[in-house]
C-alpha cells in the first residue's frame, strides 16, 4: 500500500528525516510515536507530498510519488489527511466543506456530493450540523468534520497527524471513536498520536521515531511493555 524507501528530508542544513524505511500493508493501522521534533509530522507530510522529498522514494499503491511524471493531485485523492489544527474552510458550511473537493476534483454533481456528504456526516454523528459554519463547532466536532471531509474523496489510505492533541480532554473520546470505527471497516491508516490507549487497542504496529530515524517498531503490546532500545524506554517512562 505504502512503501517508503531510504526517505530523507532536510530543511536547509537541518536533516529532519535521515533514512526512513517503512512498509504499510493494506488494512493495516500503523501508529507513530516519538518526542517533539523527531520528524513524525514531516514523515506524514512526505507521504502526501506536502513536503518536497530530499532523497529516497515513496510508493503509494505502487506509484512512485517522487517521480516528476506522477500526477501528484491524482495520488493525493487516494490519500486522505487529517491535521492537528483541523484546517476546516471557515468560509464554507460544514456540508460545503465536505462537498468542495469531490465537486472540484472529481467533478461530481452537487446533488451526489451532498448526498455523500450527509451520509458521511451521519457516520461521524454530525448530520444535524450540516448547515452550520465551522466556527460554531467544538474542537471535537471540527475534527470529526475534517475526517468526513477527507473520507469524501474515498481515499484508500488515511493519515492522521496528532488528531486529538488540540482538543479538550473530554472531546478526545468522540474523535478516537470515529477513528476506531474506520479501522474496524478496514481502512489503511497511519496515525501520529500520543494516545497510548488507542495505539494499544487499534494499532497493528507502533513505530517509535527519534531524531529523524525509526528507532524501534513492534506490535503495540511488545513495544510498550518490553521496549528494546534505551531511547524508547526513556520516552515511554515519561509519557505513560
Amino acid at each position: 500500500m505504502i512503501q517508503v524507501k531510504n526517505l530523507k528530508k532536510s530543511f536547509g542544513i537541518n536533516e529532519v528525516l535521515k533514512d526512513i524505511n517503512v512498509t504499510v500493508k493494506p488494512q493495516e493501522v500503523v501508529v507513530v510515536i516519538g518526542p517533539s521534533g523527531s520528524g513524525k509530522s514531516t514523515f506524514l507530510r512526505c507521504i502526501n507530498m506536502l513536503e518536497t522529498i530530499t532523497g529516497g522514494h515513496v510508493y503509494v499503491e505502487g506509484i512512485d510519488i517522487t517521480d516528476k511524471k506522477t500526477d501528484i493531485n491524482k495520488v493525493r485523492t487516494e490519500v486522505g489527511m487529517v491535521f492537528q489544527q483541523f484546517n476546516l474552510f471557515p468560509h464554507k458550511k460544514v456540508i460545503e466543506n465536505i462537498m468542495l473537493a469531490p465537486m472540484k476534483v472529481r467533478k461530481v454533481s452537487a446533488e451526489v456530493a451532498r448526498a455523500k456528504g450527509l451520509e458521511l456526516l451521519r457516520k461521524v454523528g454530525l448530520v444535524d450540523k450540516a448547515e452550520a459554519f465551522p466556527d460554531s463547532l467544538s474542537g471535537g466536532q471540527k475534527q470529526r468534520v475534517a475526517i468526513a471531509r477527507a473520507l469524501a474523496m474515498e481515499p484508500n489510505i488515511m493519515l492522521f497527524d496528532e488528531p486529538t492533541s488540540a482538543l479538550d480532554p473530554e472531546m478526545v473520546g468522540e474523535v478516537l471513536e470515529v477513528m476506531k470505527q474506520l479501522a474496524k471497516e478496514g481502512m489503511t491508516m497511519v496515525v501520529v498520536t500520543h494516545e497510548m490507549g488507542f495505539a494499544k487497542e487499534v494499532g497493528d504496529r507502533v513505530l517509535f521515531m527519534d531524531g529523524g530515524l525509526i528507532v524501534e517498531e513492534n506490535i503495540p503490546k511488545e513495544l510498550f511493555d518490553n521496549p528494546k532500545e534505551e531511547r524508547t524506554k526513556a520516552f515511554l517512562s515519561k509519557v505513560l
Partner: protein
C-alpha cells in the same frame, strides 16, 4: 479673532461642488486602483523572480515617492505625451489610481499571506490543484480580510485627492485655496475644508467599523 462666516456662506456652493468632485475622484481611483492592484499583486507574487521584478519596482516607485511628484509628473508629463493636452481630472484619477494600486497590491498580498498555511495544505491534500485551492479556498477568505484595509485606503485617497488642487482640478482643496486667494484670509477657507474632509473621512470610517463588525460576527 473675527471669523467671517459670510465669506464661507458665499463659497458654500463651490465647496459643495468641490466635495462632490473629491468624492468622485476617490471613488473612481479606489475602484480602478483595486482592479489594477490585484493584477500587480498577483504579478509580484509570481514565482519567477524575473517576471515579478517589474511589479516589485512598480510598487516601490509608487510607495517610495511623494504623491505630489506623481501627480505633477502625470499631469504635465505623462498625460500630455499621450493625449497631447492636459486634463486635470483625468490626470488626477490616473495618478491616484496608479498610486493606490501599489498599496492595494500589498494589501492583496498581505491578505493572501494572512491565510493560515494549513488551508492551502488541507485543500491540496484533498487533491485540488494550486489554482483550485486559490480560487475556492484562499481567495474568498483573503478578500474578506482585504475589506478593512481597502476601506482604509479609500480614506487615504479622500485625503490624498487634495493634491489635485495643485493641477487645478476643482475639488475641495482647490476651492479652499481659491477662497484664500480671493480674501487673503487663511482660517476660514482652510478650516472649512478641514471640517468637510473630517466629515467625509469620519463618516466613512464609521461605516467601515460597522461593516467590519458585521463581517466579524458572520
Amino acid at each position: 479673532m473675527d471669523f467671517r462666516w459670510d465669506i464661507i456662506a458665499e463659497y458654500a456652493p463651490f465647496f459643495l461642488k468641490g466635495t462632490l468632485l473629491t468624492i468622485g475622484l476617490s471613488v473612481a481611483s479606489i475602484l480602478i486602483g483595486t482592479v489594477l492592484g490585484l493584477f500587480i499583486g498577483l504579478g509580484k507574487m509570481m514565482r519567477n523572480k524575473l517576471y515579478a521584478l517589474p511589479f516589485k519596482w512598480y510598487i516601490n516607485f509608487f510607495r517610495g515617492t511623494p504623491l505630489m511628484v506623481q501627480i505633477l509628473l502625470v499631469h504635465f508629463a505623462v498625460v500630455p505625451s499621450f493625449l497631447g493636452t492636459t486634463n486635470a481630472i483625468f490626470a488626477a484619477i490616473v495618478a491616484l489610481s496608479l498610486n493606490s494600486a501599489a498599496y492595494v497590491a500589498e494589501i492583496f498580498r498581505a491578505g493572501i499571506q494572512s491565510i493560515d498555511r494549513g488551508q492551502m495544505e488541507a485543500a491540496r491534500s484533498l487533491g485540488m490543484t494550486h489554482g483550485q485551492a486559490m480560487r475556492n479556498v484562499i481567495l474568498p477568505q483573503a478578500f474578506k480580510r482585504m475589506i478593512p484595509p481597502l476601506g482604509n485606503e479609500f480614506i487615504v485617497l479622500i485625503k490624498d485627492s487634495s493634491l489635485a488642487a495643485l493641477i487645478a482640478a476643482p475639488e475641495l482643496m482647490y476651492w479652499g485655496r481659491a477662497m484664500q486667494g480671493q480674501y487673503m484670509r487663511p482660517w476660514e477657507p482652510y478650516l472649512t475644508a478641514a471640517v468637510i474632509y473630517l466629515v467625509l473621512t469620519l463618516s466613512l470610517s464609521f461605516l467601515l467599523n460597522r461593516l467590519e463588525r458585521r463581517l466579524a460576527t458572520e
